[in-house]
Symmetry: C2
Subunit: 187 residues, 2 copies
Amino acid sequence: MNKEQKILETALKLFVEFGFHGTPTSKIAKEAGVANGTLFHYFATKETLIKELYVSIKNELNQLLMAKLDVNDEIKIAAKKLYSNTILWALANKDKFHYIQQVQFSPHLAQIPSDVSLEQTKMHTEFIELGKAKGAIKLMPTDFIFTLVNSQITGIYQYILTQPPTQQHEIIEQGFEMIWDLIALKK
Amino acid sequence: MNKEQKILETALKLFVEFGFHGTPTSKIAKEAGVANGTLFHYFATKETLIKELYVSIKNELNQLLMAKLDVNDEIKIAAKKLYSNTILWALANKDKFHYIQQVQFSPHLAQIPSDVSLEQTKMHTEFIELGKAKGAIKLMPTDFIFTLVNSQITGIYQYILTQPPTQQHEIIEQGFEMIWDLIALKK
DNA sequence: TTGTAGATTGACTAATCACTCTACAAATTT
DNA sequence: AAATTTGTAGAGTGATTAGTCAATCTACAA
């Protein structure tokens, strides 16, 4: 297997379990089955590794969401897909989702160039603006809607974790209706 | 000034700015104006310092919320107070609020005994259950409501940061009506 | 005055860590 | 086949770090 990929995978696992501080590069290399020097061949610094891991995970999620989106769908249907695919992905990739939060509430986030961050939210803000243009979504500021939905997703994800898997589907459904109620323009 | 307090204050500032990893204990001691050994006189390990700082900040917020709560208030009024006092406190104590998030999405959270965490959410869950009993809040699971409101608060806080201060009051008002709409039982 | 317990100091240390360097192997290009 | 680039290894290094410790200071009670 690709060693660069293997390093990223191992780093993810260890960072989530022990934090950035608690994870020495030597441990990452050892557990990934590569030499110390190999790690630094692919990632110049530990900081680089932290950031590239973050960007690669965010891209993975975005590409998945894009792939599952259908331009012919109604806004509400499309929104529901975006929403539930995000939660389902988070549940199937807990470490990755957790890592995103970990970085977002750490000083490392400030290190990521704003154009990279912007690129990653672009798809979502464009979607919200389309929804407003089509009269499906309230004319609130796009950033406001984006932030609300995002935090709602995080909240629902955290709650689902505490519930039995049989309930998960219903909670996702219920959660969507609630958030849609919040942002949909009533006719 | 009390040296223990001074250490906590300095640690907060540095942890938020540079992260746990990027903040050596020696730097905390130096900037707090105490000797290296003094820090370890009060906090046996760096980990202890991280955890005690978290608990002390959470307690501070809870005590403030309690103090501002009036048992004679209607549920909706009381809920609004809890909500807006939390956001106002967060805006006035950005570092502290940021630190709470930082710990909550780090492996350090797992180190905090569950009875301590429980004690801190007790007041909120009791309030939600009172609201349900009085027929003011929907009969959804208490944890679900708690998580939703919490993430909503985080979301609104983050959005407010990007807006001019003149707008803040209105966003808080608007945000409350939205979240109340979500959880209130319609008569 | 003396005794005592806690507060405070800062030099010290053992361990750890991020990162370098050199050597060689494999792949790719010329 | 020679030359060049790229991948991989792992021992080595200098700097840093969390935490220790013996010594002094302060407050206050006996």
